[in-house]
């Protein structure tokens, strides 16, 4: 949104392609047009985004292409003037081709899927998914909720559920409380990001006042139920991530919100050949970029979580810088002028990035804990129904297999409907740790067209 707003102000002709039915992404996910929700995202932390959303919707020169999924990005071979990319878009009615001179990818992220036994039971959901039901659909999507994870988002979602009348049976953080106090280690960083901290602190205070137990040093071990979620097994875990199965407690609930962080949606960038790097705690495969947020592919820009999961504030600033980068590339602005405009943006970005780095470090559950949760019976690839044990056995049987692609070809892991989004992280870690090689050598799944499943009658009319 910030990139489109800036690019439009710089005089570029801009189209925004968004899979959702309204702009706003996930943070500012809007209620449907039929609803009137006067108290929608009224908090201070949301104010800038709401203003931006208003500008986007009211900007007649922007073309919004909604309910549309970019299935593929190709270099244009035709050589017509200035056109460099051809985007194949799965629109609301048909496949369409969009030509453009530059592409800016800002696909955001999705909740990190953690493989533990029972994570596929109906009722186990991403904490972000539960929040989207509240925020956009105005639905409390269950009766009795438990939240478990390592990311502070779960405090905010639990608070929102409780305020909307849902019962929250408990919120469990895997970190020790002392670890969370580490957030205040750098007073300057904390003070300059007061809004985000105040939001989390406010949620904590309201939950405690409402009698909702918020525990630290506890993790979900497994989820159980016949046909749907009925209980969640909670166990103590130490600062090093060691769990105590002998002290397990079963908590009754019909919804579990899982909140261990986020993965960047880098598949379109990888499909286009953009160089990536691996960072497990900041989104998995992240796209490399220069100071104007151009990837290794000329004309292909990136902004937001795809460069490292850092939240909406960082995403907006990166978007503005990337828009300036596009304008330089397309000759609409001089490099000097752009550098001048970028200066205050870069200063704010540096400050917010420090906070995001701290939050990322704080929210990472740790390899040791993840290893223990990924027990043999846990589903690793949910689409092809393969367990952690299946993949470990495959690695034992085939000692030469050491890449994600090779494991995929032998097992079908990553070939299902989600296109590997929900197993790549677990599989990459599994191979990396099993073979004792860095994730960069395990490599990413080769991303191919279409980025998401498309009905065959749309491709072959």
């Amino acid at each position: 949104m910030a990139a489109a707003d800036m690019a439009s102000r710089l005089g570029l002709s801009v189209m925004v392609i968004d899979e959702q039915g309204a702009p706003g992404g996930q943070i500012y996910r809007q209620p449907p047009p039929e609803f009137q929700v006067p108290d929608w995202l009224t908090g201070r932390a949301y104010r800038q985004g709401r203003d931006l959303l208003k500008r986007i919707v009211e900007n007649d020169s922007l073309r919004l292409f909604l309910r549309a999924t970019v299935s593929g990005i190709d270099r244009d071979q035709g050589g017509s003037s200035g056109v460099r990319f051809k985007l194949t878009v799965d629109g609301p009615d048909r496949m369409e081709e969009i030509a453009s001179q530059a592409v800016l990818l800002s696909p955001g992220c999705f909740d990190l899927p953690l493989s533990f036994p029972g994570w596929n039971l109906p009722g186990v959901m991403a904490a972000g998914g539960i929040q989207a039901f509240l925020k956009s659909q105005q639905l409390v999507p269950g009766t009795r909720f438990v939240f478990a994870g390592s990311h502070p988002l779960q405090l905010i979602v639990a608070d929102q559920i409780a305020q909307a009348g849902g019962v929250v049976a408990g919120v469990y953080f895997s970190q020790a409380p002392l670890h969370v106090l580490g957030m205040l280690r750098s007073p300057l960083t904390a003070a300059t990001n007061a809004d985000a901290l105040l939001q989390a602190a406010g949620s904590m205070w309201r939950l405690r006042r409402a009698g909702v137990p918020v525990h630290f040093g506890r993790t979900v071990l497994q989820a159980d139920g016949q046909e749907a979620l009925q209980t969640v097994r909670i166990v103590p875990c130490s600062a090093s991530g060691a769990i105590r199965k002998d002290r397990a407690v079963d908590v009754e609930c019909d919804r579990l919100g899982v909140c261990f962080g986020f993965l960047a949606s880098s598949e379109l960038a990888r499909q286009s050949g953009a160089a990536c790097r691996w960072n497990a705690s900041r989104g998995g495969w992240l796209v490399r970029h220069d100071e104007w947020f151009c990837s290794s592919e000329p004309g292909l820009f990136v902004a937001g979580e795809i460069t490292a999961v850092s939240g909406a504030g960082v995403a907006a600033l990166e978007g503005e810088l990337a828009a300036l980068g596009c304008a330089i590339e397309l000759g609409r602005i001089s490099r000097d002028r752009a550098a001048h405009m970028a200066r205050p943006l870069r200063r704010r970005l540096a400050r917010l990035t420090r906070f995001a780095d701290m939050l990322g470090e704080l929210s990472w559950p740790g390899d040791h804990l993840l290893d223990q949760l990924m027990s043999e019976s846990a589903t690793l690839c949910k689409c092809e129904e393969l367990t952690v044990g299946d993949l470990r056995a495959l690695l034992e049987r085939h000692p030469h297999v050491s890449t994600a692609n090779a494991a995929k070809l032998l097992s079908r892991a990553g070939m299902g409907l989600c296109q590997g989004r929900y197993c790549q992280f677990a599989l990459t870690r599994l191979i990396s740790r099993h073979r004792e090689i860095p994730p960069e050598r395990v490599g990413a799944f080769t991303a191919r067209f279409p980025s998401k499943p498309v009905d065959i009658d749309r491709l072959i009319p």
């Binding site: 449907p32 909740d111 959901m125 998914g129 999507p141 299902g416 499943p453």
Partner: protein, 108 residues
Amino acid sequence: MRRKQPHVLRGGQVKLTVNGSAVTADAGETVATVLIANGIIAFNRTRSGEPRGPYCNMGTCFECQVLVTTAKSARSRWLRACMTRAEENMDIRTGTRLPGPGPIEDAD
């Protein structure tokens, strides 16, 4: 499971069927919302028969797929419940096995 009422003004209503039963939804709701509001959380079954329900609620996980027949098209389609708006006269089937390669099972 409840629709937030205070401070939310809703538009009209749509009538549709879920597994053959008549259901009323608020205009603008997704199929996922309609199902959950009606007490359904298991949306489909995997090829091996395991129940599955919505996970991400933003169109990435494909766990919430259901068979949907609309007034516009004659045949049913697998659609992501979280990305599909409930429409008048829609018919939604839950609990159906997902198609795909693998051992051939008897049809439900």
